[in-house]
Amino acid sequence: MAMNPKNFVQSATIAIEDITLQTALERGTSNADGRRRQVMAELDDPYALRMQGRHAKLRALHDLPDLLEQMERNVIANGGHVLWAADAAEARQHILNICRKHDLKRGVKSKSMVTEEIELLPALEAAGIRMVETDLGEYIVQLADDHPSHIVMPVMHRTKDEVRELFMEKIAMPYHEEASEMTAHARKTLREEFLNADFGMSGGNFMIAETGTVVIVTNEGNGRLSTGMPPVHIAVVGIEKIIPTWEDFATLIQLLPRSATGQRLTVYVNMFNGPARIDEPDGPQEFYLVLVDNGRSDVYASEYVEALACIRCGACLNACPVYQTVGGHSYGSVYSGPIGAIVTPAMWGKERASPLPFASSLCGACKEACPVEINIPDMLIALRRDLAKTQGPVWELGMKAWRFGNAHPLLFEMGGKFASKVTHAYMQSTGADKLDTLPPPLNGWTEHRDFPPFAEQSFHDWWRQNREDK
């Protein structure tokens, strides 16, 4: 099914019945969530660190415009180039222009959500430029012509058996039983790509304004090879990734790996300060930083600004009982799960993603898991308020009737008595002690569960009889 948040309910319904997907999701989310809880609990004061991280990000957002200009000055001073992209089209154009200027034909890329967001790969392909994803998960996604379903673990939705089949078909892998052998095969295939690439691309987990540094955290070493070997490095980063100082980085680097993969630190933390200097034998000759807005300024100017504090760790996805049930693809957006249900409508139009803010029981597990304590549930409620009218006349009128009944205590009591009579009459007709069918629009409830009858005597009446009259 095409990536479209409007199809959420349809896609989710299919996902729930997909047993392979459910197996993969159950394993993926519970492992990641369990590991996160474990390593966060090791900290002396996890809450204090989370608050420190939260305020580092909030301070950065407060000074966002100034910090971005500081970043630009420092990147240029370090010998790099900075390009600003108001939207996805402009970002793609910048990258294509760079490719044309340096006659770049073969690229390697480390994992980046923002390049997914701006749909870069199809644009490169159309221009005759070969680009290979080198993060193992993204590589699998690319070979399968699929989309990532998780912002940190892009192939959480696939099982080992599916990947084996794919590798045997696409990259001539002989049958291997173990995941480690399959990985070794992919690794060998990818080595050729690194050696032959004329440019490398990355995203950025943090941009440190005071020195003009872009930081990426990875586990596979592909990030280092993608950015250090080819002569040109293009980093594409969303503007919200800026932080002021290394001290803030020291805080956030304790939180990101712990929250994302349950590691105390990732295997690699790469820091780019522009092109290789004269005295440095390795590194790219050219360094470009593409700063992507693509709706972020609109979020910045809205009441949903806190969503820009997200460090893309994916902890809220793993902790979310809805994500655990429906998987990332159901959301129809690059950004899925609880944070995706805010970012997607807030960046690209609420109406275009109207089902997403409603795809939550508001249980609050996301906020509890978030390393920077973004108040996701309250923002979902605010989005529902903005989208109230899209729910259709049945709900709008129903709510009006409900309001009228609940604003008038007498009507409230009469309504209760009426419901009691109706439910008891129905049960008498069926001979059951519960309701297995409710009328529309409430019939969704009884698809999966029974409903108890309304009481014969309300608490109001019990009080009248047992307390007031005494």
């Binding site: 309910v9 989710a12 319904t13 729930i16 009982p321 809805v322 049930t325 409603f358 795809a359 939550s360 029981s361 508001l362 249980c363 609050g364 597990a365 906020k367 509890e368 309250d378 409620i381 529902r384 308020r385 903005d386 989208l387 109230a388 729910q391 709900w395 709008e396 709510m399 009006k400 409900w402 309001r403 609940n406 604003a407 008038h408 205590p409 409230f412 209760g416 419901a419 009691s420 519960k434 629009p441 409430l442 969704g444 409830w445 698809e447 999966h448 569960r449 029974d450 409903f451 108890p452 009858p453 309304f454 009481a455 005597q457 309300s458 608490f459 109001h460 019990w462 009080w463 307390r467």
Partner: protein, 258 residues
Amino acid sequence: MVDEILRPSPRHKPVSLFVTCIVDMVYPGTGVSVVEILEHLDIEVRFPMGQTCCGQPAFNSGFHDDARAVAKQFLTAFADAEVIVAPSGSCASMVRHYYPQLFKDDAEWYDRATWAASMTWEFTEYLVDGLGITDIGAKLPPMTVAFHHACHGLRLMGLKNQAQQLVENIDGVTVTELEGYDQCCGFGGLFSVKMPQISGAMLRDKIEHIKACDADMILTGDCSCMTQINGGLSRNQVEKHVTHIADLLARGLKHNDQ
């Protein structure tokens, strides 16, 4: 949100019971349990007859004008209250956490909302944190229970140990742990009606955990979650049952009297 430190103490004050709409209409017995427990502790209980619903169904669905209209009815009904106690973490959190937000642009009602928020307590929170009571002197035949800690109580109100302490102190009762006790049952108000497939799948997980749990009974502090879980248990012909904490405590007091 209301500053927790500045909340007035609920000691030596009569309780105005907010029984909640679902208890009023579907589970009045739970309301009776709360009254019995409070009266057993020599606390005066009042019941403002003008009370209806807290407004959460409309608020969580985004119909905030409708929620405000119903919240005003609540604030009017409880205008004379000194302490408001509700047998629901979810409804109590609506008043505590969201009423001030709901009226932030209306000076007059904002004051009333923050005042009500500052004196509203969930039932177990009121006993344990408000009054310092962890043992109500209840006794029951030997049984093992486990908790489903409902989300709003757990995460918006910080409720977990309060109910656990009260129940652990019932003579005869042993508390065990339900796997995934902090995982949502899938209710989520109108979410369960609008996205029943997803809500139903979340409920399936909860039912599996309950089936695997060696407790005789599952306890929770919210009748709405209880309705969801019991509805699923009944549909799947599982013998186990979820009971409101207040009902078990009240049963323990009656057992004592015998």
